[in-house]
Assembly symmetry: D2
Amino acid sequence: MKKILIMSTGGTFNKIYDPIKGEFIIDVESQALNEIAKKWLCEFEIMNLIGKDSLDMTNHDRLELLATINQSEYHHILIVHGTDTMDVTAEYLADADIEKCIVLTGAMVPYSVDPVEATANLCSAYGYLNALNKEGVFIAMNGMMGTYDQIKKDRFKGKFTTL
Amino acid sequence: MKKILIMSTGGTFNKIYDPIKGEFIIDVESQALNEIAKKWLCEFEIMNLIGKDSLDMTNHDRLELLATINQSEYHHILIVHGTDTMDVTAEYLADADIEKCIVLTGAMVPYSVDPVEATANLCSAYGYLNALNKEGVFIAMNGMMGTYDQIKKDRFKGKFTTL
Amino acid sequence: MKKILIMSTGGTFNKIYDPIKGEFIIDVESQALNEIAKKWLCEFEIMNLIGKDSLDMTNHDRLELLATINQSEYHHILIVHGTDTMDVTAEYLADADIEKCIVLTGAMVPYSVDPVEATANLCSAYGYLNALNKEGVFIAMNGMMGTYDQIKKDRFKGKFTTL
Amino acid sequence: MKKILIMSTGGTFNKIYDPIKGEFIIDVESQALNEIAKKWLCEFEIMNLIGKDSLDMTNHDRLELLATINQSEYHHILIVHGTDTMDVTAEYLADADIEKCIVLTGAMVPYSVDPVEATANLCSAYGYLNALNKEGVFIAMNGMMGTYDQIKKDRFKGKFTTL
């Protein structure tokens, strides 16, 4: 088993409904990840950072993410990220030529609305990362897994597909 | 992306509550798998066979499973299996020296009672199988993945662990 | 058993997540009500109208609601309404001195996010209406039931309470 | 608002899945009721007793239930009961001519498997009890409410109906 660090940056995956405001907010503490670990009967190493909808993510945020990855002792890193700019962040990290194995995932539907897709994305990424024997930046979403340039969000179909 | 066949043999994963009988029964049509595929926004190739609680699985059933695997055109096969004799079936398949890549998974809690653990097991197995580059028989359960002889059910803790 | 008509006007009760837009929208067809009826193993008489968040509800909408109530053959009417202006609509209907028995309900959390509170509100209103032997306008929310002027939304606590 | 006591006697309503045993057991602490109260944003007065599947309920248990009702300071009592002998217990209590208002409810599907029917039954009973202005023994199940001799379990349809 590889030692995997999950970096949670926010995104739809972590949206929760705020009954007082009557709207969705990002859960910056990623309770969804803790709940998955508890129900999956295992333990995750989780680091929360940035805590944003991916449309609000800036290059400053991406620099912070890159620096955190570089400083981390972990070689295998799973990043929970918003879907709208997952490709931008993936390319940003790939351009930095990090000598690590990085898989990005996220969700089209918040875990709190329906846990299945978010859990499926996260855990497929987790399994994929466990068996991957190469460095690089990968995406695992909606049953599709591959290098970051092979998997794209199809905004009309509302899911990720292979090119 | 590898072409994966999911063989669903029953097990706790597929248990559903029958309100008329007031008890759990095995859903031999594996609606849980169809529901995961639909919510995960992807498609599975599914074959239902045996349809039993794993405590009721016989060597005759295992022979049927082995023959079905051998006859299948698929090289990558994910088997949904009951947890109590997953190790017996895994060893049985391993002894047959099939030149395929096989991952067994299942659930401690039926998908219909709480979908998270079942989804997490299945999709981690799916991701693991996608990146595996060797033949053999593997188990993916509760965040643990490895060859079938490395992952065991701990009956006291009620989950699978590594040896 | 009384013959009850459910008028569904939208509100948080009927919000569903739209993965393409990445936000909540009002389900104007009130699938939540159909799902509750199916799971409750009974049938509802449902009429959909207005289909709005209650903050967007105008006096024109209230006039439409009042006219629809007056024209209906039903004497017992359950109204699913947004929580923010439930009191305004209730008072509007009470001022019209309708000789019917009307109970308003809704939800702080969308049925699609978590079905329990929405189901509890609706079904407590349904039970209350079945036993009420007087005309008037009532509210049933968060376990509180009474005439419309006794039950108010507490915006700080995020729930309805008695005065 | 009336002061209501909920007496929880077990039944399908309170069944939970035990992953170690691989079967359903009765949750004698009725966590389902606490969870409904929490999500409904209100408080219940709950008393747990007997804790059985209704097929296992004896006349000794019914005597205990009757004595507990008689000794209780509450006039309005909601009883959560298994569905198979709900009619037997209801008739037993009715024969005792208690001068209280009693509503029995339960569930065809455990709250832990799908919360909607159990919540709907409980909360419709709660609303019904709040508006009832007479003494007697009543049943509220599957959208049907009335005196205990009007509502029966239809074992073929798997739900309660009116005679």
